[in-house]
């Protein structure tokens, strides 16, 4: 335990740990010292001077080393100058005055200085209503300006720093929070000051401008309205908006967010989603989110959302009532019984997946997880247990990341591991290619694609790296599917599990899957099994009930492998001719898969309903409805329960909370969990989102729940640590094409968010410059891969004769494959 120091602030005694800054000590007892440049997540710089306070210290007799007493109390000497509360650490016996005449005068006077060059455009400023400068001015500011308006410095008010963030130069108060965030926290120094003195302003020279996937966070911590997002600028006033707690559905991190909504004339009087803001969860995302989470929310309001059930009539999809659709679907399923297959993805909530599984079980059919990544039964057994927090990892902890490009796959984990490494944790990165996080790692293990599991099996015995793993006090292993399909990743998971098995159940130890979807882990917990051969499923099954997955969109080839829909009528003619299954699709959009369906059931988006996700760290977290549901859409778990009810299977279909109760009663790892527990919060540090927004920025305080890490399930039934068959290798004229994940892909969430789409471009592959040269190609030219035309992008980190094929970018790729590539 760190040493405690006792001091007095405005007459209140407080004991805090040694090294605490005055500003934070005050905050802990509810005293807000105004700050602009100070941010509790960053190194103090003491430059705005807003936080100057009176500081007194006990007088010590030089000769005796004793504190001098006066009237029975220690004699306190105050310095001639005020001191910055944001840079001065507390000391024993210190006396701090934050509201004395001197301190107040300083606050007033610095405020006046700041306002001399600040525009008076609060009425049209995005930050108006949540701006500390405005609040402080209202509280302490002078009634009239002593400055001559004509002498005010005017500056550009509409400066795009890139396509996502705009700068109003006139509003900037030069606190450097944005620059420091990019330098210290994001590790992407793409912002800086230009010029000096009063001319100082913010610039970016990166290409494209403000090239960072964390850029949106700067708009939260900007204490004025200088930085705004292109998405929200002039979108609404903060006080007009409602706030609903949610969980980001873009990746397995499970960032806590708040959805701001407004009913507006502009949108035909509808309540619409205006912005996504981070919500504090120090164990998950702290107070940050990535730009994908912030900007990829437009799918909710997209005009192409499905609004009513549809059923195929005379070969065409036509509107039907819910009753009719449910009846039809239920009839088919009841008939199919054990030959019914449920195919769902980790896009769905725990509740949805639980009901789907119950339905499949009730029918005696299969519940399959639509995924290309395996190993979930191992993360369920050896995952990180309760009490785990990346924030606590530092010296003594080893973190191994295998086959994952966290920057693209789970940006906030990237940030948190970077910070853990900076605190002294040993970071080991194992991958076939260089990824961004390597910059912060102590060890890099390079293997060839195909050797993942093999490499990890041998890791513990390797010099240095092995020691860092075996002798670590804590060991966390994150594995992903960079370059891997289901088989490879399953084998890799098994190899990784071996490293952490002996530590099972110890906080800050265990295995984490870097899943492609937000709730893949939840699906594994609930007993879904991955599907290796989709084609076989469609050939064998009688009814396929697909929820939240688009197998035909992802792999058009699949379509050709099943008989064309038109030829499938009448159905069930004869078993021997492999009739096409009856396809039920539960979706948000008319996906390629939905287009093939017999019945389409419109589902609600995560923003429209209640539910919970299980993050990659196995933290169950609740989300709440923010906007009214589109058309007649219903929540997935509701639809499933209603279908089941039709054939007499009773599932909970009204309250998500009760689904959770049932889950808690029947699924081991959910035992004892309830919505109430998921909604519990405790005091978090730093304190954000209260009246004093400037301290931590506009990140929301978490009042809706911190989530709960699930219990471990001790009996895994995993595959062996070795993959089946020999690893694929490129040779003279055969390329190895491997799948990788990009943050901004062509998935529906990015595709419907115009701003992000600009960062994605079209379908492409990444080649080493030497490889491209071999093909006689330059960047930007086209190649042909298995009949797909793709743009070539050069990347020196890609191994030679290997092609990285981004997932969800228009090229079907389920796993590594040997391919012919040629100039198109």
């Amino acid at each position: 335990m760190t040493k405690q120091v006792t001091l007095t602030i405005d007459g209140q005694q407080v004991a805090v740990s040694e090294g605490t800054l005055i500003v934070n000590a005050a905050k802990q007892i509810g005293i807000d010292i105004p700050v602009f440049c100070y941010h509790p997540k960053m190194e103090p710089v003491g430059m705005c001077r807003q936080c100057l306070v009176e500081v007194g210290r006990p007088v010590v007799d030089r000769a005796t080393g004793q504190v001098v007493m006066e009237d029975g109390k220690p004699k306190i000497q105050f310095g001639a100058k005020l001191e910055t509360a944001c840079t001065t650490p507390v000391s024993d016996g210190m006396v701090v005055l934050t509201a004395s005449e001197k301190a107040k005068a300083n606050q007033r006077e610095i405020l006046e200085f700041l306002l001399t060059s600040h525009p008076l455009d609060c009425p049209v400023c995005d930050k108006g209503g949540e701006c500390p400068l405005q609040n402080l001015t209202l509280a302490h500011g002078a009634p009239a300006s002593r400055f001559i308006y004509d002498e005010k410095q005017h500056a550009d008010k509409r400066v795009p720093l890139g396509d996502l963030i705009w700068l109003d130069r006139e509003r900037c108060i030069q606190c450097a929070r944005c620059i420091r965030f990019q330098d210290e926290i994001a590790g992407e120094s793409v912002l800086a000051f230009y010029q000096r003195g009063r001319a100082t302003d913010i610039i970016t020279n990166s290409e494209p401008g403000f090239d960072s996937i964390f850029s949106g966070n700067t708009t939260d911590i900007c204490p004025v309205g200088a930085l705004t997002t292109a998405d929200f600028r002039f979108g609404a006033r903060p006080w007009e908006m409602k706030a609903a707690a949610s969980i980001c559905s873009q990746c397995p991190v499970g960032c806590n967010v708040t959805l701001n909504t407004r009913r507006e004339a502009k949108s035909g009087g509808k309540v619409v989603l205006k912005r996504v803001m981070p919500r504090q969860n120090e164990a998950v995302n702290e107070i940050w989110i990535c730009d994908k989470g912030r900007f990829a929310h437009h799918f909710t309001e997209n005009e192409h959302r499905l609004a009513t059930p549809l059923a195929r009539k005379d070969g065409k999809l036509a509107l039907v009532s819910w009753d009719k659709a449910l009846g039809l679907v239920a009839g088919k399923l009841a008939d199919a019984k054990g030959e019914a297959v449920v195919l769902a993805s980790g896009r769905l909530s725990n509740e949805d997946l639980f009901n789907l599984k119950q339905l499949a079980d009730g029918l005696g059919g299969e519940a399959l997880l639509y995924t290309q990544m395996g190993g979930g039964e191992l993360t369920t057994a050896y995952g990180v247990p309760a009490g785990t927090n990346f924030a606590e990892m530092g010296i003594g902890t080893t973190i191994l990341v295998v086959a994952s490009d966290l920057y693209n796959e789970a940006p906030i984990w990237y940030l948190r591991l970077k910070q853990a490494a900076e605190r002294g944790a040993t970071l080991i990165l194992a991958n076939a290619r260089e990824t961004k996080l390597e910059k912060y790692s102590q060890f890099v293990v390079r293997y060839s694609y195909g050797d993942e599991a093999e490499t990890i099996c041998g890791l513990a015995k390797k010099a240095h790296v092995g020691e860092a793993i075996t002798s670590a006090e804590n060991l966390v292993v994150l594995y992903g599917s960079d370059g891997l399909g289901l088989d490879g990743s399953s084998a890799l998971a098994a190899a990784c599990a071996e490293l952490v098995k002996s530590r099972a159940g110890k906080p800050n130890n265990g295995l984490i899957g870097v899943w492609p979807r937000a709730n893949d882990q939840g699906a594994w917990e609930l007993g879904f099994k991955p599907v290796a051969d989709l084609k076989a499923v469609f050939q064998k099954a009688n009814v396929v009930y697909i929820a939240g997955a688009d197998p035909f969109g992802d792999n058009p080839e699949l379509t050709s492998r099943i008989p064309h829909h038109a030829s499938r009528i009448p159905q069930h003619a004869s078993r021997s001719t492999h009739p096409a299954p009856f396809i039920i699709v539960q979706e948000l959009f008319l996906t390629e898969t939905a287009k093939l369906a017999d019945v389409i059931l419109p589902a609600q988006a995560v923003t429209e309903r209640e539910g919970s996700f299980t993050s990659g760290e196995r933290r169950a977290q609740r989300f709440y409805p923010a906007v009214p549901a589109r058309g007649q859409s219903r929540a997935d778990f509701v639809i499933t329960a209603q279908i089941a009810a039709e054939f007499g299977l009773e599932l909970e279909g009204r309250f998500a909370a009760r689904v959770m109760d049932k889950m808690a009663a029947t699924v081991k790892t959910f035992a004892g969990i309830s919505y109430r527990e998921l909604a519990e919060t405790t005091e978090q540090w730093p304190i954000v989102g209260r009246g004093d927004l400037y301290y931590g920025g506009t990140t929301y305080e978490n009042k809706q729940g911190l989530g709960v890490i699930l219990a471990l399930s001790p009996s895994p039934t995993g595959r062996g640590a070795r993959g089946e068959g020999k690893p694929l290798r490129p040779d003279e004229d055969h390329w190895l094409a491997v799948p990788v994940t990009r943050l901004y892909d062509l998935g529906i969430t990015v595709a419907t968010s115009a701003l992000l789409k600009a960062r994605t471009g079209g379908a492409h592959i990444l080649l080493h410059p030497d490889s491209a040269q071999k093909l006689g190609l330059a960047a930007g030219e086209q190649v042909e891969l298995n009949g797909n035309r793709l743009e070539v992008r050069l990347d020196p980190t890609v191994p030679v004769m290997v092609a990285l094929v981004p997932r969800s970018m228009g090229v079907p790729i389920a796993g590594p494959m040997v391919a012919k590539i040629k100039a198109a």
């Binding site: 103090p44 710089v45 003491g46 430059m47 705005c48 001077r49 807003q50 100057l52 001639a80 100058k81 005020l82 910055t84 840079t87 300083n106 006077e109 610095i110 006046e112 200085f113 700041l114 001399t116 060059s117 002593r146 400055f147 001559i148 002498e151 410095q153 108060i173 030069q174 000051f193 010029q195 000096r196 003195g197 009063r198 001319a199 100082t200």
Partner: protein
Amino acid sequence: MTEHLLLCHRDIPNLHKLAVYQQHGGFEAFKKAVTKMQPGEVTDAVKASGLRGRGGAGFPAGVKWSFIPNNIWPHYVVANADESEPGTFKDREIMESNPFQFLEGVAIAAYAVQANVAYVYLRGEFWPVAAELDKRIEEMEKAGFLGDKLFGTDYSLRIHTHLGAGAYICGEETALLESMEGSRGQPRIRPPFPAVYGLYGKPTVVNNVETLTNLPLIIAKGAGWYKSLGTADSAGVKIFSLSGRVKKPGNYELPFGTTFRELICNCGGGIIDDRPIKAIMPAGASSAFIVADDKALDTPMDYASVRALGADLGSASVIVIDDTVSIDWVINKTLHFFKHESCGKCTPCREGCYWMLHLIERIEHGEKTKESVELLRSVAKQMQNKCLCPLGEFSTMAVTTAIERFPKDFGLED
């Protein structure tokens, strides 16, 4: 015995040549320090000499060195040759004409704190000076005064020059270090002081060129001898940079305690056209104004006596103003300077300098109203005690003292 101790090139021709410097005892002091003295003894000698920093703050050099911790390595020495205070031009003369004595001083300081690398940070405009210094450094290396295993001991030392690029603030020691590290030259919060957390986060001694140039004398002739020069609180000799409305501006090396009158009237040959002297700025543009009455003129120039006049001796860049000059015009000049040089890191200086400049321009252009002047004074006061580094405070010194001491020049009755 020469007349000068620091500007001895004025007595010895070609002192910038290594051979000449050596003929006059050059590098004997450094050799003595390295071969005959423990590093701590060198520090003690400098402490005992009473040598105070010549860069402006007047902090005792030996005391500063003794703050260097011995459990964090490496240590660095950085010579502050940024010399950008308006009215200061002494370090340039030293480096141009008596470079070896300066470099020997750097070497002695480096040995005292056991630094193996020392840097000379020169303002960018001293580009040609730096080019010459580089040659001198090379000559020293060739002659065995720099490099490995000096004088047969285990001590090694290298000196490098580093050029600034036009920023007065880089004279402030922490801004200088930031600049050396390849960042914008903006001051750091102190504490920690450079002695503990300096260049690259390592313990670092930053001393002014003139301060360092004294060191060979102290080591060669002894601390006691040095202390006997000057006054009780200000030991030794000082170079006074005299400029402004005097007949003979220039650098004058005098013992501390010489009076203003002696400097201005004798050395400087009095005022141009023999006009009456009106005001003195003893420390350049950062200075408070001294009303040049008889009492002031007869005040000895040492740290304590000048302070008693309500000003600071600083780096002793004495700007002389006669009765042809209106003080509000002077303020306009100093504020132009500070507005231009404010680094922009902290609010009061960034905004205050901008605001003050606008006000003085308004006043200059005829708005000599009580309100404008009062507003100017109050803005200056409002900046005081709030800034991150002394530059902001400096910018207000002339303003507040000018209005207080020369009210008529601002259209105010006195």
